[in-house]
Every structure is written in structure tokens, then in C-alpha cells.
Amino acid sequence: MSGCPECEATVESATKIPGEVFPCPDCGTELEVLGTQPFAVALAPKEAEDWGE
């Protein structure tokens, strides 16, 4: 269980893995899973200029 850094909503998941990016269920901010034991999230990295497919 962790708090969204943007809206402080409680975020938890048993199925997510480190590095996974997902939207906060409350405010929609993109979050990144930092670790699962304990479950911790941070704001997802911002898209950089050289990002793409």
C-alpha cells in the first residue's frame, strides 16, 4: 500500500511489478512502481525528447 504523490490516494496492487507504469485510480496521474515489498510508487518518468518506438 502506498500513497499517490499527487493526490495522496491510497494505491495498492498485488499484481504490479517494479517499473510498471499505471494511472492513479483517483486522479489519473501516471505512477511508476518503485518496489513491491513494500509496495511503493512515485510519479512516472516524464517523456523525454528521444523517447519513442
Binding site: 507504469v21 518518468p45 523525454a48 519513442g52
Partner: protein, 283 residues
């Protein structure tokens, strides 16, 4: 019996694609190691513990190219290799490869300074499309309809300061239906294809284009495979447009997403990628 292959998944962020790849590897009994591209360091000496093959899924072109070079230095093959990433990840180099291979591609003019950019646009004619050489998802792409618009855009881009923004990749605007085609190539075969439709002139799925499965006829298959081979082969998504004169390839993507493709076609894309990665490890 040979040892099971150990795959290093090199990533920036874990998206549904990366999860599907990890699951496909697990389903095949292959060990995986997740390598975050913002955390790993590389020395000049070969580390003792290395995966047998690295599946390079970094969304950063810069990190992806260096990582594939560094793993190659250690003798670890990567999918895709650095040469392929460099060619397909840089639109200028990619266009050169397509032209050299005789693959139809939109008329393109490159200018290396803001001063020359206006001439490049005039040579292409209006409307013209200006794209950054590196990066995708439709970011920083612009369609200019007139000299006035082109001048303003060139001035804005050069004001960004970075030398890369003073390199101009100018392409003819290709009138096409409200859709383009994406063909997913793994090794020497086409895995699936889809149409991407949008009311916007950019049809990137990341920009909200809708998708539907596309049939893969012999012409489409042959052209997509030629385009992929022109980049050096591997796991590549070939983007094509339908014109009055036939199909034309406007881009080849070396670190392709496939969530939308899997949803549109029902085809398992992750599985063939992992099979290919295993094959590369065993070569």
C-alpha cells in the same frame, strides 16, 4: 539438452508490452532478468553475470543504442542490435536505408541548418511535413501549408537551442485515406498488420488513432519484409501509407509497441518475439 536461455529485459518503463513479453518468456520456461535503463552501469570489462541475450525495450533512443553497443562489447547479442536501432531510430538514416534498398518512401529533403531549412521546404513543396530525426509518437511533427508557416516553425525550432533542432527532416505530405498501415515483422516473417485511422493527419496509436486488423497480401508482406531487411532485420514495425501510386513506407520502428496490434488482430505478438529472441541467443 542445452541450458535454458536467460533473457535480460532492458526497459525504461514496464508497459503492457513488457509484461506480455515477460509472461511469454515464463510460459516457455525461460528465465528473465529485468534491467532498468536508468539504474544499470557498464564497465569496460565483461561482468561475470550476464544474460544470454538482451531484449532491448528502452524507449529512449539514446540509452537503447548505447546499451546494445555495450552488450555487444560483452559478447551478448541484443534484439535489436545497435546498428538496427541507429538506422531505424533515426529518420534520416532510416530514409537512406530505404532509398538504398529501393523501397518506396516519401520524397524527403534534409537540411542541416535553419538557413537551409526553408530551401528544403521549398524543394519539397506545400504542404510539407517536418519531423524530428529522433523520437516518435507524433511528437514535434508539424505540417506546414505555406512559406509563412514554414518560416515561423523553423524560427521556433532553431530557438530551442539544441543542435538537433537545427537539423531539419522535411518530407512531402502524402495524401492518403484517413488511415495508414502498421505491419509487425519478427525475423523473416510478418506476424500481424493493422490499419490505424485518425481524423488527425498523424495516425499514431499514441495519439488516439483507432485500429483494426488489416489483411496481409503478398505485396504488403513483400514490401514490409524488404523495409525490415533494409534496417538489418529483427523486431520491427513498418509503417506504410496507401497512395495513388501504391504503398509507400514512411517509417520503420525499432522498439515497437504492440498492445493495440494484439487487441485489433487477436494475434499473439509477444510469443513470436520471445521465440525470436531465444533463436538469436542460440545462434
Amino acid at each position: 539438452m542445452s541450458n535454458p536461455v536467460r533473457i535480460g529485459l532492458f526497459y525504461t518503463i514496464v508497459r503492457p508490452e513488457e509484461k506480455a513479453l515477460l509472461q511469454a518468456a515464463e510460459a516457455r520456461g525461460l528465465a528473465t532478468e529485468r534491467i532498468a535503463d536508468d539504474a544499470v552501469t557498464f564497465g569496460l570489462e565483461r561482468p561475470k553475470e550476464l544474460p544470454d541475450v538482451v531484449l532491448n525495450r528502452s524507449v529512449s533512443h539514446t540509452r537503447a543504442v548505447y546499451a546494445s553497443r555495450l552488450y555487444a562489447h560483452y559478447g551478448v547479442p541484443t534484439v535489436n542490435p545497435a546498428d538496427v536501432l541507429e538506422r531505424a531510430g533515426d529518420k534520416i538514416r532510416g530514409s537512406l536505408r530505404l532509398a538504398e534498398a529501393g523501397v518506396p518512401t516519401p520524397r524527403t529533403v534534409v537540411a542541416l541548418s535553419p538557413e537551409a531549412a526553408m530551401r528544403a521546404v521549398e524543394e519539397v513543396g506545400y504542404p510539407a511535413v517536418l519531423k524530428p530525426a529522433v523520437g516518435s509518437w507524433g511528437r514535434l511533427m508539424a505540417k506546414v501549408e505555406s512559406a509563412r508557416e514554414a518560416e515561423q516553425l523553423i524560427e521556433h525550432k532553431s530557438a530551442l537551442g539544441s543542435p538537433v533542432h537545427s537539423v531539419f527532416y522535411v518530407q512531402e505530405y502524402v495524401p492518403k485515406p484517413d488511415r495508414d498501415l502498421r505491419v509487425f515483422v519478427v525475423g523473416d516473417r510478418v506476424v500481424a498488420a493493422m490499419y490505424r485511422r485518425s481524423s488527425d493527419w498523424r495516425t499514431n496509436a499514441a495519439r488516439g488513432a483507432t485500429t483494426e486488423a488489416a489483411p496481409v497480401g503478398p505485396e504488403l508482406e513483400e514490401l514490409a519484409l524488404r523495409a525490415a531487411r533494409a534496417m538489418g532485420g529483427g523486431v520491427l514495425a513498418v509503417d506504410l501509407m496507401e497512395t495513388a501510386h501504391g504503398l509507400t513506407v514512411h517509417e520503420v520502428n525499432p522498439t515497437p509497441e504492440f498492445k493495440a496490434l494484439q487487441a485489433a488482430t487477436g494475434v499473439d505478438v509477444a510469443g513470436p518475439i520471445i521465440d525470436y529472441v531465444r533463436e538469436v541467443a542460440r545462434r
